[in-house]
Protein backbone atom coordinates (compact mmCIF):
# COMPACT_ATOMS: atom_id res chain seq x y z
CA UNK A 1 0.00 0.00 0.00
CA UNK A 2 1.32 3.45 -0.92
CA UNK A 3 0.94 6.78 0.90
CA UNK A 4 -1.73 8.86 -0.84
CA UNK A 5 0.29 12.04 -0.32
CA UNK A 6 3.87 11.11 -1.17
CA UNK A 7 3.65 7.57 -2.65
CA UNK A 8 6.13 6.14 -0.13
CA UNK A 9 5.33 2.79 1.53
CA UNK A 10 2.30 3.35 3.80
CA UNK A 11 2.28 2.37 7.47
CA UNK A 12 -1.34 3.30 8.19
CA UNK A 13 -4.57 2.68 6.31
CA UNK A 14 -7.54 4.96 7.12
CA UNK A 15 -10.60 3.73 5.30
CA UNK A 16 -12.88 6.34 6.84
CA UNK A 17 -10.76 9.00 5.12
CA UNK A 18 -10.22 6.87 2.01
CA UNK A 19 -6.49 7.16 2.62
CA UNK A 20 -3.23 5.46 3.49
CA UNK A 21 -0.25 7.32 4.91
CA UNK A 22 3.46 6.95 5.52
CA UNK A 23 4.68 8.00 8.96
CA UNK A 24 5.40 11.67 8.20
CA UNK A 25 2.19 12.18 6.25
CA UNK A 26 0.16 10.47 8.98
CA UNK A 27 1.58 12.80 11.62
CA UNK A 28 0.77 15.74 9.36
CA UNK A 29 -2.79 14.39 8.92
CA UNK A 30 -3.21 13.82 12.67
CA UNK A 31 -2.05 17.30 13.67
CA UNK A 32 -4.32 18.73 11.02
CA UNK A 33 -7.34 16.88 12.39
CA UNK A 34 -6.59 18.26 15.87
CA UNK A 35 -6.13 21.77 14.49
CA UNK A 36 -9.39 21.46 12.58
CA UNK A 37 -11.24 20.54 15.80
CA UNK A 38 -9.58 23.37 17.76
CA UNK A 39 -10.41 25.95 15.10
CA UNK A 40 -13.88 24.85 13.96
CA UNK A 41 -15.16 24.66 17.54
CA UNK A 42 -13.21 27.78 18.63
CA UNK A 43 -11.62 25.83 21.49
CA UNK A 44 -8.67 28.14 22.19
CA UNK A 45 -5.96 30.22 20.57
CA UNK A 46 -2.20 30.58 21.00
CA UNK A 47 -2.86 33.32 23.55
CA UNK A 48 -4.87 31.11 25.91
CA UNK A 49 -3.51 29.32 28.97
CA UNK A 50 -4.53 25.68 28.52
CA UNK A 51 -4.69 23.11 31.29
CA UNK A 52 -4.46 19.52 30.05
CA UNK A 53 -5.97 16.83 32.28
CA UNK A 54 -3.34 14.07 32.19
CA UNK A 55 -3.83 10.57 33.55
CA UNK A 56 -0.65 9.08 32.13
CA UNK A 57 -2.66 7.10 29.57
CA UNK A 58 -2.24 7.15 25.79
CA UNK A 59 -4.95 9.70 25.04
CA UNK A 60 -4.03 12.41 27.53
CA UNK A 61 -0.29 12.20 26.81
CA UNK A 62 -1.03 12.28 23.08
CA UNK A 63 -3.14 15.39 23.59
CA UNK A 64 -0.47 17.15 25.66
CA UNK A 65 2.24 16.20 23.16
CA UNK A 66 0.34 17.37 20.10
CA UNK A 67 -0.66 20.68 21.73
CA UNK A 68 2.97 21.38 22.67
CA UNK A 69 4.13 20.44 19.15
CA UNK A 70 1.55 22.79 17.66
CA UNK A 71 2.95 25.60 19.82
CA UNK A 72 0.09 25.99 22.28
CA UNK A 73 0.62 27.16 25.84
CA UNK A 74 -0.34 23.89 27.56
CA UNK A 75 0.39 22.81 31.15
CA UNK A 76 -0.56 19.47 32.67
CA UNK A 77 -2.65 18.56 35.72
CA UNK A 78 -2.35 15.12 37.25
CA UNK A 79 -4.66 13.94 40.03
CA UNK A 80 -2.94 11.29 42.17
CA UNK A 81 -5.75 8.92 43.15
CA UNK A 82 -3.83 7.12 45.88
CA UNK A 83 -4.40 3.70 44.31
CA UNK A 84 -1.54 1.41 45.21
CA UNK A 85 0.47 -0.08 42.36
CA UNK A 86 -1.25 2.21 39.88
CA UNK A 87 -1.18 5.89 40.77
CA UNK A 88 2.59 6.02 41.40
CA UNK A 89 3.33 4.38 38.06
CA UNK A 90 1.02 6.82 36.26
CA UNK A 91 2.56 9.79 38.09
CA UNK A 92 6.07 8.61 37.13
CA UNK A 93 5.14 8.51 33.42
CA UNK A 94 3.52 11.93 33.52
CA UNK A 95 6.46 13.47 35.40
CA UNK A 96 8.96 12.01 32.97
CA UNK A 97 6.98 13.35 30.02
CA UNK A 98 6.76 16.84 31.57
CA UNK A 99 10.49 16.84 32.24
CA UNK A 100 11.39 15.69 28.72
CA UNK A 101 9.13 18.31 27.16
CA UNK A 102 10.13 20.96 29.67
CA UNK A 103 6.44 21.53 30.42
CA UNK A 104 4.77 22.61 33.64
CA UNK A 105 2.97 19.90 35.61
CA UNK A 106 0.62 20.43 38.55
CA UNK A 107 -0.06 17.44 40.83
CA UNK A 108 -3.03 17.17 43.18
CA UNK A 109 -2.79 14.34 45.70
CA UNK A 110 -6.16 13.06 46.90
CA UNK A 111 -4.47 11.83 50.11
CA UNK A 112 -3.69 15.44 50.99
CA UNK A 113 -7.31 16.29 50.22
CA UNK A 114 -8.50 13.60 52.63
CA UNK A 115 -10.29 11.62 49.93
CA UNK A 116 -7.93 9.03 48.35
CA UNK A 117 -9.98 6.67 46.16
CA UNK A 118 -9.42 3.54 48.32
CA UNK A 119 -11.00 5.46 51.25
CA UNK A 120 -13.83 6.77 49.08
CA UNK A 121 -14.48 3.20 47.92
CA UNK A 122 -14.98 2.09 51.54
CA UNK A 123 -17.45 4.89 52.17
CA UNK A 124 -19.71 4.35 49.18
CA UNK A 125 -21.97 1.62 47.89
CA UNK A 126 -21.87 3.13 44.40
CA UNK A 127 -19.44 2.07 41.68
CA UNK A 128 -16.28 3.92 42.63
CA UNK A 129 -15.35 4.69 38.97
CA UNK A 130 -18.15 7.22 38.53
CA UNK A 131 -17.32 8.93 41.84
CA UNK A 132 -13.62 8.90 40.92
CA UNK A 133 -14.50 10.59 37.62
CA UNK A 134 -16.56 13.19 39.48
CA UNK A 135 -13.69 13.90 41.90
CA UNK A 136 -11.19 14.26 39.05
CA UNK A 137 -13.48 16.64 37.14
CA UNK A 138 -13.94 18.64 40.35
CA UNK A 139 -10.19 19.18 40.79
CA UNK A 140 -9.55 19.81 37.09
CA UNK A 141 -12.09 22.59 37.32
CA UNK A 142 -11.03 24.00 40.70
CA UNK A 143 -7.28 24.02 39.97
CA UNK A 144 -7.92 25.47 36.52
CA UNK A 145 -9.96 28.34 37.91
CA UNK A 146 -7.64 28.98 40.85
CA UNK A 147 -4.49 29.02 38.74
CA UNK A 148 -5.99 31.32 36.11
CA UNK A 149 -6.29 28.96 33.15
CA UNK A 150 -8.60 29.86 30.27
CA UNK A 151 -9.61 26.36 29.31
CA UNK A 152 -9.41 22.73 30.38
CA UNK A 153 -8.54 20.17 27.68
CA UNK A 154 -9.26 16.45 28.03
CA UNK A 155 -8.10 13.52 25.89
CA UNK A 156 -11.49 12.13 24.82
CA UNK A 157 -11.22 10.78 21.29
CA UNK A 158 -13.84 10.16 18.59
CA UNK A 159 -14.48 6.60 19.79
CA UNK A 160 -15.10 7.84 23.35
CA UNK A 161 -17.52 10.46 22.08
CA UNK A 162 -19.31 8.17 19.64
CA UNK A 163 -19.74 5.31 22.12
CA UNK A 164 -21.06 7.77 24.69
CA UNK A 165 -23.42 9.28 22.16
CA UNK A 166 -24.58 5.83 21.07
CA UNK A 167 -25.27 4.79 24.65
CA UNK A 168 -27.05 8.06 25.45
CA UNK A 169 -29.23 7.71 22.35
CA UNK A 170 -30.03 4.05 22.99
CA UNK A 171 -31.29 4.97 26.44
CA UNK A 172 -32.48 8.48 25.51
CA UNK A 173 -30.52 10.11 28.32
CA UNK A 174 -31.59 13.63 27.41
CA UNK A 175 -29.77 15.30 30.29
CA UNK A 176 -26.47 13.77 29.12
CA UNK A 177 -27.12 14.43 25.44
CA UNK A 178 -27.51 18.13 26.19
CA UNK A 179 -24.03 18.16 27.73
CA UNK A 180 -22.31 16.10 25.06
CA UNK A 181 -20.12 18.48 23.13
CA UNK A 182 -16.48 19.02 22.14
CA UNK A 183 -16.79 22.43 23.81
CA UNK A 184 -18.56 23.37 27.01
CA UNK A 185 -18.40 27.13 27.50
CA UNK A 186 -17.34 28.61 30.81
CA UNK A 187 -20.01 29.77 33.22
CA UNK A 188 -19.91 30.99 36.77
CA UNK A 189 -17.81 28.50 38.76
CA UNK A 190 -17.08 26.38 35.72
CA UNK A 191 -14.01 26.50 33.50
CA UNK A 192 -14.45 26.14 29.73
CA UNK A 193 -13.92 22.50 28.70
CA UNK A 194 -12.71 21.20 25.34
CA UNK A 195 -11.92 17.89 23.61
CA UNK A 196 -9.35 18.57 20.87
CA UNK A 197 -9.06 14.86 19.97
CA UNK A 198 -12.77 14.60 19.09
CA UNK A 199 -12.02 14.09 15.38
CA UNK A 200 -9.42 11.32 15.78
CA UNK A 201 -10.14 7.69 16.59
CA UNK A 202 -8.68 5.42 19.22
CA UNK A 203 -6.70 3.73 16.44
CA UNK A 204 -5.32 7.02 15.11
CA UNK A 205 -4.36 8.10 18.62
CA UNK A 206 -2.56 4.80 19.20
CA UNK A 207 -0.70 5.15 15.92
CA UNK A 208 0.34 8.70 16.86
CA UNK A 209 1.55 7.58 20.32
CA UNK A 210 3.50 4.73 18.71
CA UNK A 211 5.16 6.97 16.09
CA UNK A 212 6.05 9.57 18.72
CA UNK A 213 7.37 6.90 21.09
CA UNK A 214 5.19 8.13 23.95
CA UNK A 215 5.67 6.14 27.14
CA UNK A 216 2.20 5.83 28.65
CA UNK A 217 0.50 3.73 31.35
CA UNK A 218 -0.59 0.48 29.80
CA UNK A 219 -2.10 -1.21 32.84
CA UNK A 220 -5.70 -1.20 33.90
CA UNK A 221 -6.83 0.59 37.04
CA UNK A 222 -7.40 -2.22 39.58
CA UNK A 223 -10.83 -0.78 40.39
CA UNK A 224 -12.09 -0.58 36.83
CA UNK A 225 -14.60 -3.30 36.03
CA UNK A 226 -14.01 -3.30 32.30
CA UNK A 227 -14.60 0.04 30.65
CA UNK A 228 -18.31 0.84 30.47
CA UNK A 229 -18.35 1.64 26.78
CA UNK A 230 -16.10 -1.15 25.54
CA UNK A 231 -19.10 -3.18 24.38
CA UNK A 232 -20.52 -0.25 22.40
CA UNK A 233 -17.09 0.47 20.94
CA UNK A 234 -16.93 -3.12 19.69
CA UNK A 235 -20.35 -2.93 18.04
CA UNK A 236 -19.57 0.46 16.53
CA UNK A 237 -16.30 -0.90 15.14
CA UNK A 238 -18.22 -3.65 13.35
CA UNK A 239 -20.48 -1.02 11.77
CA UNK A 240 -17.48 1.15 10.91
CA UNK A 241 -15.76 -1.82 9.28
CA UNK A 242 -18.64 -2.57 6.94
CA UNK A 243 -19.42 1.10 6.40
CA UNK A 244 -16.28 3.25 6.82
CA UNK A 245 -16.90 6.81 8.00
CA UNK A 246 -20.04 6.00 9.98
CA UNK A 247 -18.55 6.99 13.35
CA UNK A 248 -17.55 10.49 12.35
CA UNK A 249 -20.80 10.98 10.40
CA UNK A 250 -22.87 9.90 13.41
CA UNK A 251 -21.01 12.27 15.72
CA UNK A 252 -20.82 15.26 13.39
CA UNK A 253 -24.46 14.72 12.41
CA UNK A 254 -25.49 14.85 16.05
CA UNK A 255 -23.57 18.08 16.62
CA UNK A 256 -25.02 19.64 13.50
CA UNK A 257 -28.61 18.43 13.56
CA UNK A 258 -29.71 17.48 17.05
CA UNK A 259 -27.50 19.50 19.39
CA UNK A 260 -28.94 22.91 18.42
CA UNK A 261 -32.48 21.68 19.13
CA UNK A 262 -31.44 20.23 22.48
CA UNK A 263 -29.67 23.38 23.56
CA UNK A 264 -32.89 25.35 23.34
CA UNK A 265 -34.49 23.29 26.05
CA UNK A 266 -31.43 23.16 28.28
CA UNK A 267 -31.85 24.00 31.93
CA UNK A 268 -28.74 25.39 33.59
CA UNK A 269 -27.75 24.39 37.10
CA UNK A 270 -28.20 27.56 39.09
CA UNK A 271 -27.27 26.34 42.53
CA UNK A 272 -23.69 26.59 43.85
CA UNK A 273 -22.09 24.56 46.65
CA UNK A 274 -22.18 26.67 49.84
CA UNK A 275 -18.73 25.34 50.83
CA UNK A 276 -16.70 25.66 47.62
CA UNK A 277 -18.90 27.32 44.98
CA UNK A 278 -18.99 24.38 42.54
CA UNK A 279 -22.25 24.07 40.57
CA UNK A 280 -24.51 21.47 42.18
CA UNK A 281 -28.17 20.51 42.40
CA UNK A 282 -28.07 20.44 46.22
CA UNK A 283 -26.65 22.80 48.87
CA UNK A 284 -23.32 21.00 49.21
CA UNK A 285 -21.52 19.39 46.24
CA UNK A 286 -20.67 15.68 46.26
CA UNK A 287 -16.93 16.23 46.79
CA UNK A 288 -17.50 18.47 49.82
CA UNK A 289 -19.95 15.85 51.14
CA UNK A 290 -17.23 13.18 50.80
CA UNK A 291 -14.96 15.45 52.80
CA UNK A 292 -17.52 15.42 55.61
CA UNK A 293 -19.33 18.77 55.09
CA UNK A 294 -23.11 18.72 55.27
Amino acid sequence: MKCVRCKKQAEVELKSHNAAFCRDCFLYFFENQVLKAIKSFRMFTKKDKILVAVSGGKDSLTLWNVLLDLGYNADGLFVHLGIEGFSDIAKGKVERFAKERNAKLIVVNLKDEGIPIPEVKKKTRRVVCSLCGQIKRYYFNMVGLKEGYDVLATGHNLDDEVSRLFSNVLHWKMEYLVDQSPVLPSEEGLLKKVKPLCRVTEYETSVYAFFKGLDFVDIECPYSKGATFTMYKKHLNQIEFSSPGTKIDFYQGFLKNLKPILEKREEKIKNRCKICGYPTFSDVCSVCRLKGYT
Binding site: M1, A10, E11, V12, E13, K15, A20, S55, G56, G57, K58, D59, S60, G85, F86, A90, T201, E202, Y203, T205, S206, V207, F210, V217, D218, I219, E220, C221, P222, S224, A227, T230, K233, N237, Q238, E240, F241
Partner: protein
Protein backbone atom coordinates in the same frame (compact mmCIF):
# COMPACT_ATOMS: atom_id res chain seq x y z
CA UNK B 1 -3.82 -5.34 38.63
CA UNK B 2 -4.04 -6.97 35.23
CA UNK B 3 -0.84 -7.21 33.28
CA UNK B 4 -1.06 -7.54 29.51
CA UNK B 5 -1.28 -11.17 28.63
CA UNK B 6 0.89 -12.21 25.73
CA UNK B 7 0.05 -15.05 23.42
CA UNK B 8 2.13 -16.47 20.62
CA UNK B 9 0.64 -17.80 17.38
CA UNK B 10 2.27 -19.39 14.34
CA UNK B 11 0.99 -19.37 10.77
CA UNK B 12 2.14 -20.96 7.53
CA UNK B 13 3.85 -18.42 5.26
CA UNK B 14 3.46 -16.66 2.93
CA UNK B 15 0.46 -15.00 4.55
CA UNK B 16 -0.84 -11.43 4.51
CA UNK B 17 -1.26 -9.32 7.65
CA UNK B 18 -4.96 -8.98 6.77
CA UNK B 19 -5.43 -12.73 6.77
CA UNK B 20 -3.75 -13.09 10.16
CA UNK B 21 -6.01 -10.40 11.65
CA UNK B 22 -9.07 -12.13 10.22
CA UNK B 23 -8.01 -15.47 11.69
CA UNK B 24 -7.45 -13.86 15.10
CA UNK B 25 -10.79 -12.06 14.81
CA UNK B 26 -9.42 -8.51 14.86
CA UNK B 27 -10.66 -5.62 12.78
CA UNK B 28 -7.76 -3.77 11.09
CA UNK B 29 -8.30 -0.61 13.17
CA UNK B 30 -8.50 -2.44 16.50
CA UNK B 31 -4.81 -3.29 16.56
CA UNK B 32 -1.35 -2.03 15.73
CA UNK B 33 0.64 -4.53 13.71
CA UNK B 34 4.26 -3.89 14.57
CA UNK B 35 7.45 -5.12 12.97
CA UNK B 36 10.60 -3.61 14.45
CA UNK B 37 9.75 0.06 14.73
CA UNK B 38 7.33 0.08 11.79
CA UNK B 39 3.61 -0.49 11.39
CA UNK B 40 2.36 -2.87 8.72
CA UNK B 41 -0.78 -2.40 6.62
CA UNK B 42 -3.16 -5.26 5.79
CA UNK B 43 -1.70 -5.97 2.36
CA UNK B 44 1.84 -6.71 3.60
CA UNK B 45 2.75 -10.36 3.02
CA UNK B 46 4.90 -12.14 5.60
CA UNK B 47 7.37 -14.73 4.44
CA UNK B 48 9.55 -17.45 6.00
CA UNK B 49 10.13 -16.90 9.71
CA UNK B 50 9.09 -13.25 9.93
CA UNK B 51 7.68 -12.22 13.30
CA UNK B 52 5.19 -9.47 14.04
CA UNK B 53 3.66 -8.07 17.21
CA UNK B 54 -0.05 -7.28 17.45
CA UNK B 55 -1.25 -4.79 20.08
CA UNK B 56 -4.84 -3.82 20.77
CA UNK B 57 -5.52 -0.08 20.79
CA UNK B 58 -8.14 0.20 23.54
CA UNK B 59 -7.33 2.52 26.44
CA UNK B 60 -7.09 0.92 29.79
CA UNK B 61 -6.95 3.97 32.03
Amino acid sequence: MTVDKREIYSFDTPISVGKILKRLNFLPFEVLVIKGNRLLTRDVVLRDNEEIEIKTVYSKG
